[in-house]
């Protein structure tokens, strides 16, 4: 009997049913501690506990009792911060009156007010690096939270138009799939200057993942590697950047503008420059974040982790007198509800989830997203457009997993807020006095 991997083809209904059943049962067996923690699961940033806790939340919408769902073991940053809760008798009631909404337009410029129910939206993952199923699951979840998810730089698959109120159109340096139609459709246009996991290096979609459909949407040739150069070849200054924004706003005068940058030493200046160029949202992407594929050398060595960039930018915006006119969003290493609250206490208004969404849908953080030796991409069906593998994430299932996960995150955020005596998440912004640093030993 030879079990050789056959040429990938769309799975039959029986195969789908068998595989999905096994995968989902397997995820739940681990999440509900019916089977031991896999020994090879997890790393210092995403520990086995964090991954399993996320699977539990994604299945139940509740917080797990058996796992540490708050911190990893990276020995620094969020993992060394804790909250200074007030005495228990002063805690507020847990409930919907605790306001977790996020205001994305603080410019008072007559454009639309966008206020997601959570201080969270979905980061860019392009079509090609993930499948339409994953994109749709994220978009449908975003809709339920009155929130958003970003297309990333891979164009706008037609299915997404059905969710256009909740989809951010990303304009990045390769301009892949950027069309008047997708600019007009969106409530937010996101300019991606750089990406935390590979700052200053541009993007690269390997040939194996640039199949027929991906190439069509990106305006390219199938199975040819696609590079997004770095940086925008039309931007040398804040004035050039302003021209970009003008151009977008001519096409879509209602759209809010987000500017995504990474975290160099002068990130504070970059943020202020972006504000004066007209950005509503300044999105900082820290160096410990995830991505489809990046040179290993770039991941931790270039630019700074998000925990260190947030206070720098927050304080500088205050100094410049513009802090209340712009929304500061943090991403790149935000894993948990506790990280969200800590990022806000350090000075952000809200955060972007990327890897957490994937973990909620079964990612084990195995690092084979770029294709791995199989060349087919993620065996869990997440970061792949392989005709068979992509079916392992069904839209309904993905949407439900994400919705549950976000519900648990909201519950925990409210739990933190009430224990700090705060009734609105916005009141936590910049409150480093409510944090405690845990020094000594390993954290």
């Amino acid at each position: 009997m030879v079990f050789s991997p056959s040429e990938p083809k769309a799975p039959t209904p029986t195969l789908m049913s068998k595989t999905l059943h096994l995968m989902h049962d397997g995820l739940n067996a681990r999440a509900f501690s019916k089977a031991p923690k896999p020994e090879a699961l997890g790393d210092a940033r995403w520990t086995d506990d964090l991954i399993l806790a996320t699977w539990f939340m994604a299945e139940t919408g509740e917080m797990p009792e058996n796992f540490n769902y708050m911190t990893g073991k990276s020995n620094g940053g969020f993992d060394r911060l804790d909250f200074k809760f007030i005495p228990e008798q002063e805690w507020l009631e847990h409930g919907e009156h605790l306001d977790t909404r996020l205001n994305l337009n603080r410019r008072d410029d007559g454009r639309q007010q966008l206020t997601p129910d959570l201080p969270i939206y979905g980061g860019g993952m392009s079509y090609g690096s993930v499948s339409v199923n994953v994109m749709m699951a994220r978009a449908r979840n975003a809709k339920r939270w009155n929130s958003f998810m970003s297309t990333g730089e891979g164009g706008y698959p037609s299915e997404l138009y059905g969710m256009k109120e909740n989809v951010i159109t990303q304009v990045a340096t390769g301009y892949f799939g950027v069309e008047e139609k997708s600019i007009k459709a969106t409530p937010i246009v996101e300019f991606k200057y750089a990406q935390g996991a590979k700052p200053g290096l541009g993007g690269h979609l390997l040939a194996a993942k640039a199949g027929e459909e991906v190439a069509k949407i990106r305006g390219s040739v199938p199975f040819v590697s696609l590079f997004s150069p770095f940086p925008f070849h039309s931007t040398y200054s804040v004035e050039d950047h302003m021209k970009h924004i003008d151009w977008i706003q001519t096409i879509n005068p209602e759209a809010l503008i987000s500017v995504k940058v990474s975290t160099p030493h002068d990130v504070d200046m970059v943020a202020v420059g972006s504000f004066y160029a007209g950005a509503h949202i300044i999105h900082l992407d820290g160096s410990y974040g995830g991505t489809g594929a990046a040179p290993e050398i770039a991941k931790k060595n270039i630019a700074m982790p998000i925990e260190l960039a947030i206070p720098k930018v927050h304080k500088f915006l205050i100094k410049e007198g513009v802090r209340d006119k712009v929304t500061l969003i943090a991403s790149g290493g935000i894993r948990t509800a506790d990280d969200v609250a800590k990022a806000i206490a350090l000075g952000a208004d809200g955060v972007v989830f990327g890897t957490s969404d994937l973990v909620a849908m079964g990612c084990t953080r195995c690092s084979n997203c770029e294709g791995g030796p199989s060349g087919r991409g993620c065996p869990w069906g997440l970061t792949t457009t392989d005709i068979e593998l992509k079916e392992w994430v069904q839209q309904d299932w993905g949407e439900e997993r994400l919705y549950n996960f976000y519900a648990a995150v909201q519950w925990r955020l409210r739990d933190i807020m009430r224990k700090l005596g705060l009734s609105a998440i916005g009141d936590l912004r910049g409150r480093t006095d409510l944090l405690r640093y845990i020094s000594g030993g390993e954290a």
Binding site: P38, R45, P231, I297, P305, P311, E370, G372
Partner: protein, 495 residues
């Protein structure tokens, strides 16, 4: 030089160049000249491991559990054979002749789908044998990464983000800067191909002086290597001619330098422009074509005598001793190339790490107003590609590679791997020169390419401009103090 086209004389392009004023080139001649231009390139070739590095994971499949599953699925999905025989692994671990009954764990990449799907009879565990490699500085991760780099010659790329600790000791505590809009070049995909990695080694005056006729009186006496790293001598206790032969050949291929003991160089006739013999005294014979020698320790007379032979002279400074005083003495005595040797964990005799000690050495030279007159080389503690730019930012002109080269040649290091010249080195059984040469060349290419990634992200067009650029790097400890300084509990922070 005047460039003219025969076909379109009205569009004649006139370019004046001082060295050939007045000479007229046809378009074809100009093209022919352009075609002689060779871009620096390191030729890589996939070079398989000779010693199979331990696999990443062990995969155990309970035979009874698998048989039970097959039996159950045979009936449940009878007729749907594709479904019956479908397996969770897309990497072929269960695709051998008897499938999961004899898995092929070497192919496992740890996606854990099999274990999650079949918790009752599959386990995937990290392979302890791999994790036992190396020591606390040159870790198993460094070793497996170097192995991959030496095998493929490319830049390691992986999915998902960073997996390690926040900041960390040694070079992990430094982040390099990037620029959101400044690029080294607007050409090409990333402009990387126009970034220079050459460095100069030798005597450079702080400024040029001219005589009455406009001729330069103090011409720089230096040589240029194409990459900002060179190959430091293998441990003295490694008695294997093949290793030094490989280093000499690789240095010639990459156009860098191999520092090798003079007696070995002479005995094996390895001399040439890319080999720098290490000598004890001025009387040592060095082969024809030698451009640079290294003195084992400072000796003013020997130094001057060697310089008088027209050689560039590097002076080894052992950082386990009073390296500050030794450096000063050599510098005041006229040495212009100083080679600092830390131990293999990058420490000096007082446990000062490279990031600080090199910065101090560099700053002392800056403060003395002579930084550009001195070439600073440093060896010891370079275990990964990121250490190269970080050592240069810390103040080096060029970086010496040592244990990493041996790891590229799949040497197994044991014993005291921290002190210089004390590790026990075991080479693969079927080790040979051609194989070892390509592995070192591959590693060199991979590390140079990764250097280009860093320079490209920074918007720096040549590596020479990276030297001592503390301002284009960030120390995690400094950033943490800024970010968390006012938070209760932060050491020295708020309350």
């Amino acid at each position: 030089m005047v460039l003219t086209t025969e076909r379109e004389p009205e569009h004649e392009v006139v370019i004046e160049m001082s060295e050939s004023k007045g000479k007229v080139l046809t378009l074809e001649q100009a093209r022919a000249r352009a075609d002689t231009y060779l871009r620096y390139n390191i030729d890589t070739m996939e070079t398989a491991d000779r010693w199979k590095i331990p696999r990443r994971f062990n995969v155990k499949v309970g035979k009874f559990g698998l048989a039970k599953l097959l039996f159950k699925e045979f009936f449940k999905y009878f007729g749907h054979w594709e479904t019956v025989f479908s397996r969770p692994c897309t990497y072929g671990v269960f695709s051998g002749p008897v499938g999961g009954f004899s898995p092929r764990p070497n192919l496992c990449v740890g996606c854990l789908r099999c274990e999650v799907q079949h918790p009752d009879f599959v386990t995937v565990t990290p392979n302890g044998e791999l994790r036992a490699l190396g020591d606390k500085y040159l870790t198993w991760r460094h070793i497996s990464t170097i192995d991959e780099e030496a095998r493929k010659g490319s830049v390691p790329v992986r999915g998902q983000g960073y997996r390690g600790r926040f900041g960390g000791p040694g070079f992990d505590g430094m982040f390099t800067d990037m620029s959101e809009i400044v690029r080294p070049s607007r050409d090409g995909i990333h402009g990387r191909e126009l970034i220079g990695t050459q460095v100069d080694i030798g005597k450079k005056p702080m400024h040029l002086e001219f005589d009455g006729n406009g001729a330069i009186c103090n011409e720089p006496e230096m040589m240029t290597i194409q990459v900002p790293f060179l190959y430091s001598a293998p441990p003295t206790n490694l008695d294997d001619d093949r290793v030094v032969e490989i280093m000499a050949s690789a240095a010639a291929k990459v156009d860098t330098l191999a520092l090798l003991p003079v007696d070995v160089v002479n005995r094996l006739e390895l001399g040439g422009a890319n080999v720098a013999p290490i000598v004890n005294c001025a009387g040592c014979e060095v082969p024809e074509g030698t451009r640079l020698v290294e003195l084992r320790q400072w000796d003013e007379q020997a130094h001057d005598a060697l310089e008088n032979k027209g050689l560039l002279v590097s002076v080894a400074i052992d950082m386990s001793g009073d390296w500050r005083a030794d450096m000063k003495e050599a510098r005041l005595g006229g040495a212009s190339i100083l080679h600092l040797y830390a131990d293999h964990h990058g420490l000096d005799g007082e446990d000062g790490f490279l990031m600080d000690t090199l910065a101090e050495a560099h700053t002392n030279l800056v403060n003395a107003g002579i930084r550009d007159e001195i070439t600073l080389i440093g060896s010891g503690g370079i275990a990964g590609a990121d250490h190269l730019p970080k050592a240069i930012i810390s103040g080096l002109d060029a970086v010496g590679l040592d244990h990493s080269l041996l790891v590229a040649m799949q040497a197994r290091l044991s014993g005291d791997t921290k002190e210089r010249n004390s590790a026990t080195v075991q080479l693969p059984d079927d080790f040979d020169n051609a194989w070892g040469l390509q592995r070192v060349v591959n590693l060199s290419c991979s590390w140079r390419d990764q250097m280009l990634e860093i320079l490209g992200a920074m918007g720096v067009r040549e590596v020479r401009r990276l030297r001592g650029e503390f301002g284009r790097s960030m120390r995690c400890s400094v950033l943490e103090a800024e970010a968390f300084g006012e938070i209760e509990g932060y050491p020295g922070g708020g309350d």
